[in-house]
Amino acid sequence: MSYLSLTDRDRDEMLAAIGVSSVEEFFRDIPAGVRLQRRLELEPALSEQELTRHLEELAAKNVHTGMELSFLGAGIYDHYVPAVVDAVLQRGELLTAYTPYQPEMSQGVLQAIFEYQTAICELTGMDVSNASGYDGTTVAADACFMAKHVTGRTKVVVTEATNPQVRQVVKTYAPGFGLELVEVPHRGGTTDPDELAAAAKDAAAVIFQQPNFFGCLEPAPELAAAANEAAAIAVAHVDPVSLGVLEAPGKYGCGIAIGEGQGAGNYQSYAGPHYGFLAARNEFIRRMPGRIVGETLDAEGERGYVLTLQTREQHIRREKATSNITTNQTLLALAGLVYLSWLGPQGLRDLGETCMSLAAYAKERLELEPAFPNKTTFKEFAVRVGRNAKDAVRDARARGVNPGYVVGRDYQDLDDALLVAVTERRTPGDIDRLAEVLRA
């Protein structure tokens, strides 16, 4: 199958108009030595029907969360995605548009981004949001780059209770940025503010996660205060789904708020595409990475939206840009906007409370020792399963339940800990089943 539109007659007419006799002539500038003298070794073309069958076969080899009762989380969550999100995303005018460089052609996308930026600012308590970053890991690297330029300092501090993948990405980026990375260990599941304060000295930024990777609520205001005392930028990595019940980072002293947007409106999709969000206080606006949409007027005085503050960006500032990003995750951020609008403030709060209640119920029902006693958790919590958690997962999966994430994959001393995520999609009955399976 191909999506080509030219007929043989078209081709002939076009070649004639160009004044060449064959398509080959277009390639005469390519040195013979680098021209491919054979056809690509790829499997033959498939018709749409065959393609569908092939991909259905591949998809059928995956065990998705509709097939297995799943309590997997650890950064990506099985929250319900309402149908209206899909309906909006499949609107061709939005789906098949490029970046809105020409605002008169792109008011739909531009206004949607403006609305998204507003939603993110409302969630996080910040003044400015960009149009999205790649995911919840890369926005952390972005924040480091911002902080470095804002503070002129060369160290960033990350709590150990921050999602390991976030930390790994920051670590990968840090050398290029000329940044040193310091990790502050967790103490029984959360971060000690004093310890963090000590590490924050001379730091450009202090990054912590709320709720943290273990699902525990950090003493976030105190962590932010520790950063601020050291004149480091406090960066909170937050779960958007929690922000109906948890305080906005802007309210407790953070300068930058970042996070993974997936749980708010995107499918799990084996980790992508999703959106990372990044919002900051107004003072950092000129150091923001990525697209930002602003309001303006048209020639007739009507309101409209444009990409703005572009002098931050690579296409104008080139090597002096605040980031190299161009393609971002606008479509997924749009999904986020639709989702958050569908929920509304009350829905977001209900969602947070429902997840939290279900998780509390699960804690009760599982009757397993908490990995981190006496911590308040949100929708996720770690328990000790009394043996290597890998084995517990294997046994439970054999019974159709994926009980959670093996914490030992990232934290050496926690081999027996299982991280259980409970979203609103898991009913009390589902949780009973988990308890039953884990008891077995």
Partner: protein, 500 residues
């Protein structure tokens, strides 16, 4: 049109959640509890859908019409790919699922890696980077790791780029901690070899080059270029944004490049959704393979698994294994063509040359060669003669129902119009586009105001970008939202790169 927040009304609900009875109450400690609710929109689902339907009707996509935005490869996005990416086995798969429960996903990724290696003519592929620019940065990190591994880490501190390079290239160089050196362009649109030689030495880590270049021209001396770098032990990075020109025709690896990124959302038809998503897998030569990100998808007997055990890897540049949904769509696109990817590229090139042939007598052509999949014209003469800029031409095209081409890029061409039709356009559209551009050239002489005040037929008139930047209103302010109405408007738009 109203903002969604302006449709809000206190206490109105959209979606509802399940209510489970008799559960423990959610108890957030007072000092961590939300103090005032986020002012998210409050509207019922019917109006929600109407709002976004209305927004969509104020937007132009490939589905709406011709979108020759140069360097962005705006081709048809097959709907079957949307259907496939929505299969529950793909969309509802958790990335922490055990490998035995993700064999289909792993196989698809492994197959895509193999395909991209074949297309690029190189040896190993990492799908992890989320976009071309992240691919660039990852590629530069690989260089850094490679040289560090060889003990040349201190010595190699410079990356050479072309003066036609996309802005992401220099930006990536900085973010990777390298210094930048720029090479000029010769009269045929190739890298200026003399200039190049003078800038390459043992401090050079590598070259970043787009080929065909952003001028839509294939570098005729690419073999010499490769030699210049390899002779000093430096590496070559291929910005694959223009791969749509050469699939099955010429391969980056065969040209001498060591690292390539491929913009899946360009060549392999990922709908760009008004800004993204995208995918920027990198493909590398053997010697760089040890350094690519973890985890890597590998074949293992009959099955597939994630290989984390890569001690010399640079680490991770993004969560998990990359934007999987993008892989599904691009894999599907590639499988639709098979080895016919060559005909895909040939047709893209044919379409571009046809436009070029019909336009070059009316607009200025800075480099008089046949082009590859895109070409760059200049409105220089229009500007000199009638004071009409590339921006004016672009705006006027809107009134004819076309999305404008990329303008003011590449930077070395004044008043640049960078036109990329792609292979999926029929001749009728191409002809209509040419006719419009020819009509506009006449209008520039006869009725220049028509152009300067364009567009006339869009939902908004020309927008004031200067006001936007000055006022920096970047979110809705509710009761405190600034009221611009009544302000003096001068619909100034920056004559800077729009597109690519």
């Amino acid at each position: 049109m109203k903002l969604i927040y302006e449709h809000s009304q206190d206490g109105r609900r959209g979606g509802e959640l399940p209510r489970y009875e008799g559960l423990p109450r959610a108890n957030v400690p007072e000092k961590l509890r939300r103090s005032s609710p986020p002012r998210l929109p409050e509207l019922a689902e019917p109006e929600l859908l109407r709002h976004f339907t209305a927004l969509s009707s104020r937007n132009f996509g490939i589905d709406t019409g011709f979108y020759p935005l140069g360097s962005c490869t705006m081709k048809y996005n097959p709907r079957v790919n949307e259907r496939l990416v929505s299969l529950p086995g793909f969309k509802d798969l958790h990335p922490h699922q055990d490998e035995d429960g993700a064999q289909g996903a792993l196989e698809l990724m492994w197959r895509l890696q193999e395909i991209l290696c074949e297309v690029a003519g190189l040896d190993a592929c990492s799908l992890q980077p989320a976009a071309g620019s992240q691919g660039e940065l990852t590629g530069l990190m690989l260089m850094r790791a490679y040289f560090a591994d060889r003990g040349e880490g201190g010595q190699r501190d410079t990356i050479v780029t072309a003066d036609t390079a996309h802005g992401t290239n220099p930006a990536s160089v900085t973010m990777a901690g390298y210094k930048l050196e720029k090479c000029g362009t010769d009269t045929r649109g190739n890298l200026d070899l003399d200039d190049l030689r003078s800038k390459v030495n043992e401090r050079t880590a590598g070259l970043m080059l787009t080929n065909p270049s952003t001028l839509g021209l294939f570098d005729e001396h690419i073999e010499d270029v490769a030699k210049i770098f390899h002779e000093v032990g430096a590496l070559l990075y291929y910005d694959g944004a223009n791969l749509n020109a050469v699939c099955g025709i010429s391969r980056a690896g065969d040209m001498g490049f060591d690292i390539v990124h491929i913009n899946l959302h360009k060549t392999f038809s990922q709908p760009h959704g008004g800004g993204g998503p995208g995918g920027g897998p990198i493909v590398v030569r053997d010697r760089l393979e040890p350094f690519i990100p973890v985890p890597q998808v590998v074949r293992d007997g009959q099955g597939f698994r994630l290989d984390y055990d890569r001690p010399r890897s640079i680490g991770k540049v993004r969560g998990f294994t990359g934007p999987f949904g993008v892989f599904v769509r691009s894999y599907a696109y590639i499988r639709s063509y098979g080895p016919g990817l060559r005909e895909m590229s040939e047709t893209a090139v044919l379409n571009a040359n046809y436009l070029l042939a019909r336009l070059k007598d009316t607009y200025d052509l800075p480099f008089d060669r046949l082009c590859m999949h895109e070409f760059v014209l200049s409105a220089r003469s229009l500007k000199r003669k009638h004071g009409i800029t590339a921006l004016d031409v672009a705006k006027r095209l809107m009134d004819y129902g076309f999305h404008p081409p990329t303008i003011y890029f590449p930077l070395i061409v004044p008043e640049a119009l960078m036109i990329e039709p792609t292979e999926t356009e029929p001749k009728e559209r191409l002809d209509a586009f040419v006719d419009a551009l020819l009509a506009i050239a006449r209008e520039a002489a006869d009725e220049p105001e028509l152009l300067r005040e364009a567009p006339h037929g869009r939902p908004v008139r020309r927008l004031d970008e200067v006001m936007a930047a000055k006022r920096a209103i970047v979110k809705y302010g509710f009761e405190d939202h600034p009221d611009l109405s009544g302000e003096a408007v001068e619909p100034r738009q920056l004559e800077v790169q729009k597109g690519a």
